[in-house]
Amino acid sequence: MDRYSFSLTTFAPNGKLLQIEHALAAVGNGSTSVGIKAANGVVIATEKKTGSSLIDVSSLEHMVMICDSIGMVYSGMGPDFRVLVSSARKAAQKYRRMYMEDPPVRILVKELASIMQEFTQSGGVRPFGVSLLIAGVDDRGPNLYQVDPSGSYFPWKATAIGKNMVNSKTFLEKRFDSDIDLEDAVYTAILTLKEGFEGQMTEQSIDVGVISTIPTTQADGEQKASKFQRLTPAEIKDYLSNVA
C-alpha cells in the first residue's frame, strides 16, 4: 500500500487515491465545525482552539464571508483554507461581474469543488487539507454544503466535520427538524459544539456565522436581502448564557 501513497496521481489497487485519504485524515485532526440548515436561514459554527492563552483569539478568522449571501467555515489546515477563501471570493466576484448578482450557493460550491479536484489530478501538487462547510441563501432558499479534499460535495440539512464529527452528527440527528427556526438552530449548533468541547467554552473560543432568508427592512422602508454575518463575541455570550 505504501507504494501507492506517495504519488497523488496513482491509483492504489483498491481503487483509492491514498493522498486523498491522508488529506481526510488531516481534516479529521482539525477543530470541529458544525452547520445547520433552518427553515428560514443557515448557521455554521466552529471551535477556535488555541494552544496558548497568549494568542489574540479575536483576530483569528475561521468564519469568512465569501460574498454578501454566502459564508464559509472549515476543518483542517488553516493555510489551505485561506487559499480557498481567496479563490471562492474571486469566483463569486467574477460571477457578479457578468450577471450583476451573487452566485447561487450551488454554483459557487461547484466552482470550489472543481478547484479542489484539480489539485487531485495535477502533477507536483497535493490535495487541500480542508473540508469546507459553505452556507448561503439564494433563489432556492437556505443552503448548506460540505466540500471534501477530493472535490466531492454534499448538500446537508445538518452536519459536522473535523475531530468530533461522528458524535456531533449523532447529536444532530436526534435534534434536527426541518422546521427548525434560525434562532433555535444557532442554539443547537452551539450545543453540538459544546458536546465535544474540552474545557470551558467561552464566547472567545467559538465562531458562529448566520444568514437569514428574511430580508431586513432598512431605515427608509426598503427591503434588502440579509447578509452573511459573523456573530460578535457579545452576541455569542448571550447565546451561551441561555444555553448553560
Partner: protein, 172 residues
C-alpha cells in the same frame, strides 16, 4: 442593393424573454449563436431559466469584452421576470444598458420611433391595446425612413404565452 426582405432579427432566449438585434447582419447572427450557447450553458449549470435582467447584464458583458473591435449591433431586450413583471432595455454597441422607462427603441428609424412611441404610449395598456399601440408606433416610424420597411412582426409577451402577428405594411 436589397438582398433579403425576410431577415429574422428577433430571437427567443427563453419562453418569456426575447432579444432583438439591430445592425450588421453577420454580427446579428454571430451574437445570437454565442448568446444561445451562453444561455444554454447557464440553464444546465444553474438548473434554472435565466431572468431578463440577468440576461441583459450577460449581453452587456459580452459586448464590452469586444470594446476595441465591437459588434455592430444594438440589442433590445424584452421579457417577463419570474414575478410576471415586464422588463425592457436596450444597449449601445459596447454594452451600455439603457433601462429606459416606458419604451425602448433601436435601429435606423430610432429617432422616428422615439417620436411615435412618446405620443402613443400610455400606462396600463392591456395586451391587445399594447399590440395596437406598438404596431402603429412601428409602422408610422418605419414608413418615414428610407432604410426601414419590408414588413413587420409584433410579439406580445404575456404570462400566459406569446402573441405573434405579422403586420400588413408597405413593402418598400
Amino acid at each position: 442593393m436589397t438582398i433579403d426582405t425576410d431577415f429574422e432579427k428577433v430571437f427567443p432566449i427563453t419562453e418569456r424573454t426575447y432579444i432583438g438585434l439591430a445592425g450588421l447582419a453577420t454580427d446579428v447572427k454571430t451574437l445570437h449563436d454565442r448568446l444561445r450557447m451562453r444561455v444554454n450553458l447557464y440553464k444546465h449549470r444553474e438548473e434554472r431559466v435565466i431572468e431578463p435582467n440577468t440576461f441583459a447584464n450577460l449581453v452587456s458583458h459580452m459586448l464590452y469584452e469586444h470594446r476595441f473591435g465591437s459588434y455592430f449591433v444594438q440589442p433590445v431586450i424584452a421579457g417577463l421576470n419570474k414575478n410576471d413583471q415586464p422588463f425592457i432595455c436596450s444597449m449601445d454597441t459596447i454594452g451600455c444598458i439603457d433601462l429606459g422607462g416606458n419604451f425602448i427603441v433601436s435601429g435606423t428609424a430610432a429617432e422616428n420611433l422615439y417620436g411615435t412611441c412618446e405620443s402613443l404610449w400610455e400606462p396600463d395598456l392591456e395586451p391587445e391595446e399594447l399590440f395596437e399601440t406598438i404596431s402603429q408606433a412601428l409602422l408610422n416610424a418605419v414608413d418615414r425612413d428610407a432604410m426601414s420597411g419590408w414588413g413587420a412582426v409584433v410579439r406580445i409577451i404575456t404570462p400566459s404565452g406569446i402573441i405573434t402577428r405579422d403586420l400588413k405594411s408597405r413593402m418598400d
